[in-house]
Symmetry: C2
Subunit: 307 residues, 2 copies
């Protein structure tokens, strides 16, 4: 195989109470990545035209370029890769855009190498790519972006991860055009939190994991609450309270900030609820002259897809 074309999916990290430890893979939006083997052991990147094409094409500055170069070096390949990236995932939006490029490139190169790398190796290289965009990346976008489904990260340094069953849900994704860098979103958080709040948060997270296994929608609804991070970060997102109210009133099982925002997600039992939420949310932003992309997606249980 000399070339491959894939979809690299968006991911929702944190899922309210699972800050830094939980992420889920979506079917939409996604990037398209085509990789063609070239004779020289080097990496070339072409950014194809799209709404979100404003990313570097210099390999050392691109989250897909870095792991590609590392793979050439570490595996002593005598060939290289031309990587064509068509971004479909909003940049700096909290939907794992940089992780999608990184995970997608690593996944695709591994396919070109007849899948010689293990999942853990793939994760390691993809995380190296993410370091281009954030200094100390967690695996809460990379792991679901590579492996699909909902992933719990016990510990990033040892890549100690496990899958949590999640099926038959719809995600309403609202991405208002508000600029928040991951670093700003992180720096707004306090270094310490009240023990009482921490206990509430881990009670909620434990119950959320239990609820997904038990398929207990009522418990999912009660558990999907973020009492630690949301009170800080929601202040960075205009109309957050309004969108949350719309989502809950429409019947969402849960609502929260996706990753470090500004995107928000609503977990829904069915497609109609998700559609109602994105439509009503979009209206609010457009009325206030803020551009807004929205998506309705099922859970992607496999990760990147060859197309």
């Amino acid at each position: 195989m000399d070339s491959i074309k894939i979809q690299a999916p968006a991911t929702v990290a944190n899922l309210s109470c699972g800050f830094d430890v939980l992420g889920v893979c979506l079917n939409e939006p996604y990037d398209e990545i085509e990789i063609i083997k070239i004779d020289k052991p080097e990496v070339q990147i072409d950014i194809l035209d799209s709404k979100f094409s404003n990313i570097p094409n210099i390999p050392s500055q691109n989250t897909g370029g870095v792991p590609a170069e590392l793979l050439i070096r570490d595996l002593k390949l005598n060939f290289g890769f031309n990587i064509k990236i068509k971004k479909g995932i909003p940049l700096c939006g909290g939907l794992g855009s940089s992780a999608a490029t990184s995970a997608g490139v690593v996944y695709a190169i591994n396919k070109l190498l007849n899948s010689k790398l293990s999942d853990i190796d793939l994760l390691k290289y993809a995380l190296e790519g993410e370091k281009v965009s954030v200094s100390n990346p967690h695996a809460d976008n990379i792991a679901p972006g590579l492996l699909g489904g909902m992933i719990l990260i016990r510990d990033t340094s040892s890549l100690d991860i496990s899958k949590v069953p999640i099926n038959n849900f719809y995600f309403a994704i609202i991405h208002p055009d508000i600029k928040i860098s991951t670093e700003v979103a992180r720096n707004i958080l306090p270094p310490s939190i009240k023990l009482d709040l921490a206990i509430q948060q881990w009670g909620n997270l434990g119950s959320l994991i239990n609820a997904f296994h038990l398929q207990d929608l009522n418990l999912i609804k009660k558990s999907m609450q973020d009492v630690v991070i949301e009170p800080y970060r929601s202040s960075l997102i205009k109309f957050f309270d309004e969108i949350k109210k719309i989502s809950i009133n429409s019947g969402a099982l849960g609502f929260g900030i996706s990753g470090s925002g500004p995107s928000m997600f609503a977990l829904c039992e069915n497609e109609n609820i998700a559609k109602e939420i994105v439509n009503n949310s979009k209206e609010i932003y457009l009325e206030n002259n803020i551009d807004c992309d929205t998506y309705v997606s099922t859970v992607n249980n496999i990760g990147p897809k060859v197309i």
Copy 2:
């Protein structure tokens, strides 16, 4: 039915990373409680002789007496109860001794009333009983002590609880005769904790719940770590580090302080490991002239038992 005799089981709260939100019910040790209907709508308590008989027999000061009186009042009963309690669970040991009395009495009275109360009502009355011994009780002993198995408490005030599957494990329980009151154990904790540590703790708890569902022993082992509470409370328990080392070296899947201590538990794959741990641990305490009770128990999945 005019009388009933039951076993009211011990419970292990917290289970390392699940501080205040997780508890499990054991088959041993247990209290024996006999309740006999009497003509007058009042409560009489007899404390039968045992190693741990030093508890109040005045109903308003006894964790079983209080809910019994409340039940007589609220249900407008025209009869009362003579309650005979034979304590088998060490007092102030971190094994849910006060909760066992409370849960056991409520369970037994409900049987005498032809099970007219719901589980949630039983929990409420049992929690009222626990308030005799601790000002702001959590349900992490009461809930598993009443319902059996492993219980996750998302929120105590709304009694929002769920069961987590746990089977085929053995608990080694080591109870050294060291006095620690629940209040002292609570006051040693800091009011705030580093966000990083909180994230580690909820990553561990989420993974532990996932691991029990997936029956992934390796993940249980990695997840059952308490980075928040144990560093403080372990200082109150002489030879804690030694007992932890013995347990891990013997092959325990997890080890920690049971409730607020001084009891410690080791979660074990089989009975032999658990026996080795309790024997070696007991030796250390006895060599140092500290009395020590030990138990090896399977998980009690039903709670109190009629005998």
